[in-house]
């Protein structure tokens, strides 16, 4: 399986934070969801691969090319949506076409206007006259209008209502129909990833906790619910994280089918990505 992105051992140190030797792959034809709480290092990782910050260590290969030496060439095939940076709101929507024609050789004006029509965006309007949802759609369709092979999206659906989010997720699924294309999607809205991600990369406190297929994560991890007595009988190695509630314990376990065989009377529930994140981040570790 070939990868569109390969990050090896990326390290970036700030006074109060360190992205610590992070590896990540984005296979062709897949959507990789990057999850983690605010400040976990998701945006730093994305910025590091795009050259917006300069990691001290590590290697970034995009389309098999070294990002340090071939960045300009690589970027001709990437569409990026960053959280909070885009065209000036004073400009009209149609100005994006004028500008991008002078930047991308493969910019497709017909496709851009086709997208505008599809999403009901008036090209003669100023960007500031569009709603937040429309602006987000505009950012995404701008990233798509030069036929990129890779989309890198940082919080593309944050602050959007479910209808708009669904429209945007449909665009991503259409995009991924071409098996040469991939999406790296960083988001807090984990329910979106349950629908569309093929892989999940969980980053916490600057470290990659896991990189697994979505199906494996949702099938393998589970929440064991038990009282204190049963909790005390659990093997420490079976407890990834736990949370003590008023009446019971919630324990994050891996390989829940095997755990079910070991603790036959235990209640083990399937996990959502949100629960997994919450327990991992907020839960306690057994010493």
């Amino acid at each position: 399986m070939e990868n569109n992105i390969e990050i090896r051992q990326m390290t970036k140190t700030y006074p109060a934070f360190r992205l610590d030797r992070v590896d990540l792959s984005v296979p062709k034809g897949s959507i990789v969801g990057l999850i983690g709480e605010n400040g976990a290092g998701k945006t730093t990782l994305i910025k590091g691969m795009l050259g917006l910050v300069h990691p001290e260590e590590g290697e970034v290969l995009i389309f098999g090319k070294d990002a340090k030496t071939s960045m300009k060439e690589i970027k001709t095939n990437i569409g990026v949506v960053l959280d909070g940076s885009f065209f000036m709101e004073l400009l009209k929507v149609q100005a994006i076409d004028t500008v991008m024609k002078g930047i991308y050789d493969k910019w497709d004006t017909a496709l851009f206007y086709d997208y505008l029509q599809r999403f009901g965006i008036d090209p003669s309007k100023k960007i500031k006259e569009l709603s937040k949802g429309m602006q987000k759609k505009l950012e995404i369709l701008t990233a798509l209008s030069h036929h990129p092979k890779l989309l890198i999206l940082d919080e593309p659906t944050s602050g959007l209502d479910p209808v708009v989010r669904n429209e945007i997720l449909d665009i991503f699924q259409d995009f991924i129909l071409d098996e040469e294309c991939s999406i790296l999607l960083s988001t807090h809205i984990t329910s979106d990833l349950e629908h569309i991600a093929d892989y999940l990369a969980f980053i916490d406190n600057g470290q990659m906790i896991f990189f697994e297929t979505r199906d494996k994560v949702l099938d393998s991890y589970g929440i064991l619910k038990c009282d204190q007595k049963k909790f005390e009988r659990l093997e420490p190695s079976d407890v990834i994280r736990y949370r003590r509630n008023r009446y019971n314990y919630e324990v994050l376990v891996n390989d829940r089918h095997s755990i079910r065989r070991t603790y036959r009377d235990a209640v083990i529930e399937k996990i959502t990505i949100e629960d997994l994140m919450l327990l991992y981040i907020k839960g306690e570790k057994l010493c």
């Binding site: 917006l52 910050v53 002078g102």
Partner: protein, 214 residues
């Protein structure tokens, strides 16, 4: 890079009405005050200051970060700004010079063309210094902090000029000889000096922009 230039031109279009209004006001002032070559110096400065507006927009909308996700190098980003600013400066100079001659024609007086051109050259010099200072400072400190740094630098330059004037008087040097130099053969030195200042500023800006993180 052409796209980056187009973006700045489109942004400036939204400023067109204001620019025309200010130009009309300056022209009126020139007529009233009978300072016929005033426009030739003030318009290059006014137009070059627009580059600060462009950087402010870039800053506010985090355009620099966005531009780095596009297939343009950091040097392309900086170069496009210097090209736009130089074009603005050239446009301001031409407009200012032409308007100066128009004012002279309206007033129907005899002012040597040389005086207008020399004043325009002075305007170009000041505008180039302004622009050459503004870009590296704005890239290094951002537009908010950058404004204060620029005020500080101009305060420093003003104090230096006052002290220099006093020193020249103490040394019993005739100021006239200095001005004679710059209106004589010295004026030819201004053009290479302007080019050197802009080039050095461009190199510093490229170095800052390439190392900058977002």
């Amino acid at each position: 890079m052409l796209g980056l230039i187009k973006k700045d031109v489109l942004l400036l279009q939204s400023y067109l009405k204001n620019l025309l209004l200010i130009t009309a006001m300056f022209s009126g002032l020139s007529l009233i005050n009978e300072s016929y070559s005033f426009l030739a110096a003030s318009l290059p400065c006014m137009f070059s200051i627009l580059c600060f507006t462009l950087i402010s927009y870039d800053d506010y909308y985090h355009w620099d970060a966005y531009s780095l996700t596009l297939p343009v190098s950091p040097k392309d980003s900086v170069r496009s700004k210097y090209i736009v600013s130089t074009c603005l400066l050239a446009f301001g100079t031409v407009l200012g010079t032409v308007l100066s001659f128009v004012v002279i024609a309206i007033k129907d007086i005899s002012v040597p063309g040389k005086e207008v051109f020399l004043t325009a050259l002075g305007g170009i010099f000041i505008a180039s210094v302004l622009m050459s200072l503004m870009y590296p400072i704005a890239y290094r400190f951002g537009t908010e902090k950058g404004r204060f740094v620029i005020f500080g630098i101009f305060a420093g330059i003003s104090i230096f000029i006052v002290l220099l004037g006093k020193a020249l008087m103490t040394m019993d040097l005739q100021l006239q000889s200095v001005t004679d130099f710059f209106t004589g053969s010295g004026k030819y030195l201004l053009i290479p000096l302007i080019l050197v200042i802009i080039f050095v500023s461009y190199c510093i800006s490229c170095s800052i922009f390439t190392r900058k993180e977002y």
